[in-house]
């Protein structure tokens, strides 16, 4: 890995990754986008496609950020940034909001991750560092509650290690919950029969992707 001198393929940008996720969200889907990278997905949903964004703090039908100066601090998203409400949206309290997540009513949630294991285990809430202050928020609820949990992350750490691993070394968020991973290198389905590569970054071969990735891959 560290030996690669020059990449012959073109890594997907964060926006390209978001576009890949957005492409797979059908009209009418109820979707929760986790804080961080996944929030970019909202920018790539086609204008005409009605998708219902859920925010854990009691919003369904969440709209884009308000214009500068129009912020309403009673209307924020999970990342505590000001948002808007679409026509047809609704407010509700926290137990009802998490009932939507935990009761299997969301079609898709998209989460960031530190690591994803080949069996779908997810680690995204805690580095496990002894001096780190933990914070979990709604990650564990989303991971196991949505009908399908997608992960969106860089394929490798800054040190070049694969974040798709045989077994997570970081503390788990959920067990065997991830269905699909979108990275800057590929889109990979996690199935009972193993990891299946749905698509790859331009110029990347399956052999190269396998070389970079920590666990066995198959063509889809």
């Amino acid at each position: 890995m560290n030996a690669i001198v020059k990449e012959t393929f073109k890594r997907r940008t964060r926006d390209e990754m978001a576009a890949c996720v957005a492409r797979d969200i059908p009209e009418g889907a109820y979707v929760n986008l986790g804080i961080g990278l996944p929030t970019l997905v909202a920018n790539h949903l086609p204008k005409g496609r009605e998708v219902f964004l859920h925010s854990e703090n009691g919003i369904l039908g969440m709209g884009p950020a308000p214009a500068k100066g129009e912020e309403d601090w009673d209307l924020i998203n999970a990342g505590k940034q000001p948002v808007t409400l679409l026509t047809g949206g609704a407010y509700f309290h926290h137990a009802d909001s998490f009932a939507m997540m935990r009761g299997g009513h969301l079609d898709i949630c998209v989460l960031g991750a530190f690591q994803v294991a080949a069996n779908g285990d997810l680690a995204n809430w805690h580095t496990g560092a002894p001096d780190a202050i933990p914070a979990v928020g709604g990650a564990m609820d989303l991971a196991v509650g949505a009908k399908r949990t997608f992960v969106m992350m860089e394929h490798q750490t800054k040190a070049g290690e694969s974040k798709i691993v045989a077994q997570c070394s970081y503390p788990l968020t959920g067990v065997a919950c991830v269905r699909r991973v979108y990275t800057d290198l590929a889109t990979i389905d996690i199935t009972a029969a193993g990891l299946k590569v749905l698509d790859m970054a331009e110029g990347l071969t399956l052999a190269e992707l396998q070389h970079i990735t920590g666990v066995p891959l198959q063509a889809a």
């Binding site: 859920h54 949206g89 609704a90 407010y91 137990a95 009932a99 009513h105 969301l106």
Partner: protein
């Protein structure tokens, strides 16, 4: 564009399968989805399990459905009423299975299904015949019974207004089981008296957000009110 409003009761119910568990709103007549029940009778699905607070009154609504013989089992809190003779007859003849559930357990078990809860401990029913054979536990000096969620394949709900996203409001005490039943079924179908434009319902006052609702069908008010009062 998402439009959950369907043209007719028949369209709304077309895919109800034999053997389905149907969560049916209503407390007596208030909130009873009479048109959807009539539609279900017409649709003809058999071997049904019905979850409702009661077991039908007089000859209409749920009572009429029971009369078809298409209901295998009913889960309810209060079957016996002055005019529950259709249920009474079928039950006494051994043609209808009854699971009697304290009303609060019924509501909480439905709510649990919608909220993804696998089971919960409640003090209601402890030490009574209705908790016989159920797991019990002492928690902080009080005795509790373990109860399980009641999931539905279909929910039939009577609401007041609905929009194309499936957002619903109710009217007075006709709300009763509607919101929790909508949340606990794979396919919630709401009959409403008024379909409104998106945005016509105040986002602060939507009682059932559209995420819980698959189909909305408008029915006439006059006919329904007559039936409720009957």
């Amino acid at each position: 564009m998402i439009d959950k409003i369907v043209a007719s009761v028949a369209d709304a119910l077309a895919d109800v399968q034999d053997g389905s568990t149907i969560l049916m709103g209503g407390f007596g007549g208030a909130g009873m989805p009479s048109e959807l029940i009539d539609g279900l009778i017409e649709q003809g699905a058999k071997d049904l399990v019905i979850v409702n607070n009661n077991a039908g009154n007089g000859e209409t609504g749920l009572a009429a459905l029971l009369k078809t013989g298409h209901v295998r089992k009913i889960i309810c809190s209060f079957p016996r009423q002055a005019d529950s003779h259709i249920f009474d007859g079928l039950y006494r003849a051994g043609k209808l299975e009854l699971e009697l559930v304290p009303q609060g357990n019924l509501a909480e078990r439905i709510r649990a299904a919608g909220a993804g809860i696998g089971g919960f401990f409640t003090p209601t029913g402890y030490g009574t015949d209705l908790a016989k054979g159920k797991e019990t536990r002492e928690i902080n000096g009080r005795m509790y019974v373990l109860e399980s969620p009641i999931h539905g394949d279909v929910a039939l709900v009577k609401a007041e207004k609905g929009d194309r996203w499936g957002n619903l409001t109710y009217r007075k005490a006709a709300r009763n089981f509607g919101p929790i039943m909508a949340s606990a079924a794979k396919c919630a179908i709401a009959q409403v008296y008024e379909t409104v434009e998106l945005g016509a319902l105040d986002p602060e006052n939507i009682v059932t957000p559209g995420i819980f609702v698959k189909r909305v069908v408008r029915v006439g008010r006059a006919a329904a009110q007559l039936k409720v009062a009957a």
